[in-house]
Symmetry: C2
Subunit: 450 residues, 2 copies
């Protein structure tokens, strides 16, 4: 039932584009779902994509445009004239249109806007351009359906019919008072089954209305929509006047991007990058962390150099350096990950730091006991019981320290409004390496009485 893009189809399509075989294209491509068409255009050259794009119906064009991969869309738009871009914008939802314009230069934006025929739509878009893209204002669209408190159902239906032309998906009708302040919501289902003369004021739900402010952070919008199970949320200004709405599908993108960002931060990548980006852009996002890790490694080298006499006398001490650093790193990352996720869920207003720390320390004690008993046997086999003791006592100490650091660092970062996911990255690993080496060699020198 669903379309599956194959290499063969793509090759065939390419040859048909070259032959300008519109009959074939019409039959095999233009009837597909817009998301599938976008997926196909993503794989074509810009000229090929443009050829197909302008065969599509206007409505479908808008949908396809928004589904294209960002890089493909940027390239595509760059090859259009201001007039052509303006034509595309007319068919888009205001939030999508603003997103597209937002990527252009101010000069180009003015040019495009001047070519738009629908003044009201142009005004909406220009208004949306004022909001930071990471806020509710940046996410919202101007297309929504509203009803006034004193309308009867039949008048409401007439008004809605008029309004609904611009609104693709209707989930909820927002009810406003005479000052355009949001006072409640009304489900389409409720309206559908009410008698024509009933007034909205007797139908609408005015209790526990969840709305967001234009300046709210987009991550907070996502949290609110998740918490309250909303499919769309009304956006109000500082005076509680209704100015837009945000739909869950836009917020799903925010949720995914946030998860991607956390995953990348934890993997030591400093910007949101995709595998399609240029070598230089990928390098730039990755090298800062590597430099930090390298400086950490240099500090580690300095620690070991300070204990050079230990290595000269007992070379076997060097054998377990990677084990100690690896374990410190792994335990630290585990501890941070748990804290980062519980912070991300926002369910930690009441979990005191001491409570978290003591639990984490307890887990570390259990893990430390199990692992250090195993490693005693291994190190004993490598050299002798002194090395066994050194490695197992150090490992135990390092695990406990790493767990404590791993827990504290994200909490501290979060306190200073820095993304705690940073902690699960090379940061905590590097710190634990250095501390771990220091603990290991200090215990080694003590037990070997060097």
């Amino acid at each position: 039932m669903r379309f599956e893009l194959s290499k063969d189809f793509l090759e065939l399509l390419r040859s048909k584009i070259e032959e300008q075989d519109l009959l074939w294209i019409n039959e095999n491509l233009l009837g597909l779902h817009f998301a599938d068409i976008a997926e196909i255009l993503d794989k074509l050259s810009n000229d090929e994509a443009k050829y197909i794009y302008f065969q599509l119906e206007e409505e479908v064009q808008a949908d396809v445009l928004m589904e294209l991969e960002e890089e493909v869309r940027d390239r595509f738009l760059a090859s259009l004239s201001s007039k052509e871009i303006a034509d595309q914008l007319e068919n888009l939802d205001s939030d999508d249109a603003a997103d597209i314009l937002g990527d252009l230069s101010d000069e180009k934006i003015q040019e495009v806007i001047s070519h738009m025929e629908d003044d009201e739509a142009a005004e909406d878009i220009v208004d949306l351009l004022n909001y930071d893209e990471d806020t509710a204002g940046g996410l919202m669209q101007k297309e929504f359906i509203q009803a006034k408190l004193d309308w009867p159902v039949d008048r409401c239906l007439v008004e809605l019919r008029r309004q609904a032309e611009d609104v693709e998906k209707v989930y909820t009708i927002y009810v406003v008072d005479d000052l355009n302040k949001l006072v409640g919501v009304l489900s389409l289902k409720r309206l559908l089954f009410a008698s024509p003369k009933t007034k909205i004021i007797d139908l609408y739900q005015g209790k526990n209305i969840i709305s967001v402010k234009t300046s709210d952070d987009s991550e907070d919008v996502a949290k609110v929509m998740e918490k309250y199970d909303l499919v769309s949320v009304p956006v109000v200004d500082l005076q509680n006047k209704l100015v837009g709405r945000i739909t869950l599908d836009d917020v799903v993108d925010v949720i995914k991007e946030e998860a991607d960002k956390d995953f990348q931060l934890a993997s030591g990548i400093s910007e949101r990058i995709e595998s399609t980006f240029s070598v230089w852009r990928i390098t730039r996002a990755r090298i800062p962390w590597l430099i930090i890790a390298m400086l950490g490694g240099t500090l580690g080298a300095q620690v070991i150099a300070n204990f050079e006499v230990g290595i000269t006398q007992i070379p076997a001490l060097a054998f377990f350096i990677p084990l100690i650093t690896a374990m410190g790193g792994n335990v630290g990352v585990q501890s941070s990950a748990i804290v980062v996720q519980s912070l991300a869920k926002g369910n930690d207003q009441f979990g005191s730091i001491m409570q978290k720390l003591s639990k984490e320390a307890l887990v570390a004690l259990v893990n430390g006991l199990i692992l250090s008993s195993i490693i005693f046997g291994i190190a004993y086999y490598f050299e002798n019981s002194t090395l066994g003791l050194v490695v197992s006592i150090s490992l135990f100490t390092v695990i406990v320290f790493a767990a404590i650091f791993g827990t504290l660092i994200p909490l501290v970062l979060n306190h200073y409004k820095i993304d705690p996911a940073l902690a699960t990255g090379p940061f905590v690993t590097t710190l634990n390496d250095i501390v771990g080496l220091f603990i290991y060699f200090t215990i080694g020198m003590l037990l070997y009485q060097i």
Copy 2:
């Protein structure tokens, strides 16, 4: 406008519960949004929560129950009789009811079901229990609205009014033929604005209908809903008969859980755990990875032991062990993370492995060149130019190898249907440690001519 839970409020509430001050509770608590009430109950003792819960209206009870944290809900349900649980289930959507029952023993399920008064609802729930919870069948609900092709709009409205009583949120009406096979969809908006005698067959949209099969994996459902921007998706059986629907809010949970799981896998935690779990459960989820890392560290110790003569003669070689292993680990994790994410996006049918590898190798070359020139200076400062050469050549080699492993391993795991996020965890780090040490000491022995 939105409720913010504070410590003070919670303390006050506790004392009011003790005093059984229903007036205060009514005024300050029972009117809140169900999600806020659930948040409050999460923080109370089971007895306190139960007291509040049974003051709530029946409809609100169901909503609150589904919003409780899993552990709190399990504890709460365990303290109810089968009859009481059955009463709660009557007010829940079928998918939520099935989720709750699914956690109970078979015996308890039978008991609860036998207490349910609504036979049809009970049947729906029992049916849903048959599906694996990670499939579309496990996600779907039996509450949806359907219309037959040959109905006129007015009959459709009458039928919908009847059906809609059970359906909390209506987004789309599913259109079926006489055999109950899904043939299309109809938006409520469209129905609302049609004339009474128009037939559904002339209104509905039958092209490009996206549906999922009961056996589809829940992650695939999430991908489909994202790709096609759906707020709800119909679920069909093997004969294309309509059996349920899945709404986006349930899928958002799947998306979040998937992201959490990836993040935890990458952090070396083997089950989905939460910070509220018991020490033992957290330990159990974490220790397998630590043991793998420790065995890796032991292999690393063996590698170094084989080069013991090198360390005896040039103790400074030991200084840079942590740097080499840390850099290998970090580069490997970065490379894996990018591959894992591009695999998760599912946009890689056409990206050939060779293409990915060569790009990753190119990035590694650039990073390697920059970093190994810096480290040459540092190692030179520590000892002499020979050590400088050893460390910088090894670092360069290790970075390139780590990038290649980091790219290949998730691709291989994915090929064998193993979650590629495993690769970004301790797995790739450990492997890179061992390979890195081997490269480092081999080059060291060569250049120092030991």
